[in-house]
Every structure is written in structure tokens, then in C-alpha cells.
Subunit: 335 residues, 2 copies
């Protein structure tokens, strides 16, 4: 029998909390065995939401946390002071071995700081990256790092490449994932100081499949599986991806309203367009894992709906059952 | 009578040279008075192309240059050694006051290096940025810097903001252009070391309309007119913009082929979709100016067709007639 994976779901964080968080987590529990969900947050509010669903009572529990960390709060202060918040209480459950993973749609800053300060890094990991999956023409790629680790060093990027490879191979099932370094040209001598220093280090790594520099232009076509960059660049890529997509869809929809002909055409293509857009919808793929921690932390979009929460919870099961943390522990402690 | 603007067009650089370069430049000359074009490149080849058109002979001439700088060549070497290349010969015409501007679809690296080494910076300008116009939902924004100036300092970014404002106000006719600093959050304390250092400096500038940090997500909606960033980030933004757009269009087209219904719809929406896509087509807006030089250098896409060349040549006229170089000279020499 496979072991039960215990996932904490922050019921209070995100634009649609607690309704969508509770709904998504319940759906995850209903969809497969081997998951137990622990909600952290205000008990009475969570109970009200839970009352709407029929679910196996023994597989969902609530740990009360009265405080809520708001989106605008300075993260370090919030984590240090709000000991009774859904994030701090939830992460402490992971820290003390009472849960395996933590999923939140709340403040990215607070989740990243909490991950480092409360859950803690695996020994040997210099910086834990936040690594969202982004949709491409061929499937998904892991964009590592999009976190708070700005001004990274080359040794950090090398670790990101290794952690990303482990994740894509074991959680996403991509054999020998291709690792690319984000650069402004594909030639080895191109780049800023950080990239020039990192390139030869990645080339030397025997445990990853480094394919060299990749240009941002080629990311959407799925040129590699693990996209390595420092967090400022990663953040720009992630957000521009969403921004260009959203603006183009809006423009296309406006364009379809310009004539009767295009309106009729628009009605006919609606189902096909919707299906196409779905493949470009990041929420299909669960949240962004924060890697290199003693336990898994997953950050979903702030606007996450139940589908994303459900996928994020299921992602945690995969992560645990594939022993990702143990693989990383072995890798970084021996180095 | 307005003065004649003399524009050198590199006839040998780019994927479609010399045919599209010659065609575009001839079209520019035909479209308005006040332009004279000087082609640099292999005379016999250019003459062959020119023979296809009917144009005012006194307004187009050829200065022979036998060598061609290839795309893959190390730029500094190429500029130093190939004295008889279309780029070096063309830039020397600008340097010696025999032309006002230089347009090339050739190697970006060679154009940037040539701009600095041959045409030369305006005194007081620390680094000349390459600043393409990118399409947004509202029009276009200037993305400054996308050049070769990686690892920039905060003082460079402040100059980029000023040069970009002058360009957008005078060439593009946008009054009091909004300047945004690319960042990973809109709060003042967010960012990497460079951005944190640059933010207060931009805030202090009285001669620009600084609106604060902008996130990459908001760039496509047209949140600001001048997008300030260092070249590595700018390059990622520019190329990802093109990449996401191209991949989405491809996916949508594939989606339209999935059923008879969507195929019919696709035929009906074709004209509207084409019109919409045109607004997202960077080639509509001419090339990317390299600012802060003693003369104008414009780099078009390597894949430029005649329309982009024509627009780039006309852009040079606007630049000269609005006295952009003099405005920048006044600004940076007094500081």
C-alpha cells in the first residue's frame, strides 16, 4: 500500500479564498486515494465551506489559525510576527513532520520567506528557487528561478539546473530533460557576467543534459524542458508570458467584433479557440513548486480557482511518492 | 524649404538583401520629398536591383563597398578589419558628415559596435542604447535598452530614460511620455540591486515623467511609453514578445483546422484576424534606433522586408527634422 501524503492547504490566501481553496482540495481528495488534506485558517469559515460538500471526513481536517497575512505586507515582518497565520501555522506542520507539503495562493513574498525561514533548506542547497511550469507549443517547461532570489550567483544557477532536472524527470516524467540557460544569443561568448560565468559550469555538469544558451524567442516553442535563469529575468519571462497572451486574446476578440462576417466566424471558432487557449493556461498545471526545502511548498496563482488547487495538491502526491526530496538531499549533501 | 535628409542604406545586410533593402529605400524616396538615399554595398549588385524601378536618379546614389560582414562574425573584429564593408563604409559617411543616418538589417553586434566606434557617442552620453518600438494594446512603447550594453549601471539607465523620453515626444509625438522602470513588483523596495539604485535617481529627474516600476505583465497593455531596463532584460522582453506571439498564432491556426465548423469560422475571421495581427507586427514601426550617437543609426530586423526598410528611412527624416541629436547634445553636455 502506498503511503498517505499529507498536504496542508492554506484556506485563507488568495483572491478566491476560502471558497475555491476548499473546493479544490475536496476535489483532490475525492479524485484519488492516498491524500489527506489539512486546512489551516479560521475554523468557522472553513467549516462553513466544507459543509457544502460530501467528502470522506477522516481525510480532511482543520488546524485553526486566526491571523491572515495580507498581500501587501512586508514578508519578513509578516512571517516573524503573525505566528497564528494560516501560512506560519501550515509551514510549521511541515517543519515538524506532521505534514509533507504546503499549498498556498497567498502572498508570494510571505510563502518564499516562510519556506526558507520555517520549512528550511536541505543542507547543501544555497538558495531554494521558485519554479513554475509554463505552457509551450510542445507541453510545459520549468522556469527556474522566478522567486525572490534576485542578484543570484553562478553556483545558484547550477543548483537550479540540477533541481529542475530532477523535478522534470521524476514529477513530470520527462526523460533526460533538456536544460537551457537563458541568454541574449546562442553563442558561448554572449551574455552578461553571470551568464558567462555560469555557462562553462553547466557544460561541466555530468548529471544534467545541458543544451546550451536559449534565447527568449525560442522558449514558447518548447526548445528546452528546464529554463535556467536568475529570478529577476525569470519573473520578467513569467509575467510577460501572461501579459502578451492576455493582450493578444483581448485584441483578437475585439477584432472579431468588427464586422458581421467576423462575428459569425467568431461564433463558429469559439470551441476550437477555447480548447487552444486551454493549452496556454498556466493554471492547468497546478502551482509553482519551491524546490530544495525540507518538505514541499507550492505557490499557486493568487487568482487560483479550484482546478489549480486540485492540481497543486495532486502534484504534492507525485512529489512525495517519487521521493524528490530524498533525491535532492542525496545530491546536495554528497557535493 | 526643409533640408534634405541623407540616409545611408546598407544594401548587403539582412536575410533579404539586397532586393528588399533596395525596394524599401526606393519606396521611401518615392513617398516623400526631402530624402536622399545612399546605398553602400557591391555596386553591380545594387545597380541590378535598382534597374527594376523607376525613381528620381538624382536622389539615389551608390557608394561601393566590396566586403560583407556576416551574421556570425565577432563584431569588434569585423568592424576593425573589414574597412571596405557596407557597414563600415556607410557609418564613415555619417561620421564625416556626408550623411545624416544609417539603416542596416545586418549583424546587430556589428551595427552596435560600429555605432560606438565609428559614428561615436555624443559627449556626455555614457552608453548608446538600442531602443526598438514594441507594439502594445494602445499603440507602441519604446523598449530601452535592448543593445549590447549588458551589466549596465544606474547612471546608464537614467540616461536611457531621458533619451527615450526625447525620442517618444519628438519622433513619435507622444506628449509627456510616461517612463516606467521594469521591475518584479510595483513597490519601491522591490527589485535587484540595479533597480533599487536606479529607482530613486529616476524619481529625482525633473525632466521626465517617471511613473514608477512596471511589471512585465503590464507592458503589452501599454502601461507606459518608455520602458527602461538594462539590455539583458530588454533583449529577453523583445524576443519573448515575438516568441509568444508567434507560438500563439501558430496554435490558434492549428486549432482552427480541427473541425469543419472551425475551418469555416476560420475562413470568415481571416480578414479581421489579419488586421489584428498587423497591430502586433513590430515591422510596421521601422527599425530600432541606436540613440546618443553623433548621427542616427537604425537597426531593422534581420528578416526585414521592404515595408520595414521604407519606414526606417522615413523615421530617419523625422529624427533629423525634429533635431533629436541637437536636443540630446544640449541635454547631456550641460549635465
Amino acid at each position: 500500500m502506498e503511503e498517505v501524503v499529507r498536504v496542508v492547504v492554506d484556506a485563507m490566501g488568495g483572491d478566491n479564498a476560502p471558497a475555491q481553496q476548499v473546493k479544490g482540495a475536496v476535489e483532490a481528495v475525492q479524485s484519488m486515494d492516498g491524500i489527506r488534506v489539512i486546512f489551516t485558517g479560521q475554523r468557522r469559515v472553513i467549516e462553513q465551506e466544507l459543509a457544502k460538500y460530501d467528502y470522506p471526513k477522516e481525510r480532511i481536517e482543520i488546524v485553526n489559525a486566526e491571523e491572515i497575512i495580507e498581500m501587501g505586507e512586508p514578508p519578513v515582518n509578516a512571517i516573524r510576527r503573525k505566528k497564528d497565520s494560516s501560512i506560519v501555522v501550515g509551514m510549521n506542520l511541515v517543519k515538524h513532520g506532521e505534514a509533507d507539503a504546503f499549498v498556498s495562493s497567498g502572498s508570494t513574498g510571505a510563502v518564499l520567506v516562510g519556506g526558507q525561514l520555517i520549512v528550511g533548506r536541505i543542507r547543501g542547497v544555497e538558495r531554494p528557487p521558485l519554479a513554475p511550469l509554463i505552457p509551450t507549443a510542445k507541453g510545459v517547461s520549468l522556469l527556474i528561478d522566478c522567486g525572490a532570489n534576485v542578484d543570484a550567483r553562478s553556483s545558484h544557477l547550477v543548483q537550479f539546473a540540477k533541481m529542475g532536472s530532477i523535478y522534470m524527470e521524476n514529477v513530470m516524467g520527462i526523460k533526460n530533460p533538456r536544460v537551457g540557460l537563458v541568454n541574449i544569443g546562442v553563442e558561448e561568448e554572449k551574455g552578461n557576467a553571470l551568464v558567462k560565468e555560469t555557462y562553462p559550469l553547466l557544460k561541466e555538469c555530468e548529471d544534467i543534459n545541458f543544451i546550451g544558451s536559449v534565447e527568449a524567442r525560442d522558449i514558447p516553442s518548447g526548445v528546452c524542458d528546464v529554463i535556467v535563469c536568475e529570478a529577476f529575468v525569470g519573473n520578467v519571462i513569467l509575467k510577460l508570458y501572461e501579459g502578451v497572451g492576455a493582450t493578444m486574446i483581448k485584441k483578437i476578440k475585439e477584432g472579431l467584433m468588427t464586422s458581421l462576417r467576423s462575428k459569425i466566424g467568431g461564433m463558429l471558432i469559439k470551441p476550437a479557440l477555447k480548447e487552444t487557449m486551454k493549452t496556454f493556461d498556466a493554471t492547468q498545471y497546478g502551482g509553482a513548486p519551491m524546490l530544495g526545502l525540507k518538505g514541499l511548498v507550492v505557490k499557486t496563482h493568487g487568482s487560483a480557482k479550484s482546478g489549480e488547487i486540485k492540481n497543486a495538491v495532486i502534484q504534492c502526491v507525485q512529489f512525495k511518492q517519487q521521493h524528490i526530496e530524498e533525491i535532492m538531499r542525496d545530491l546536495f549533501q554528497k557535493n
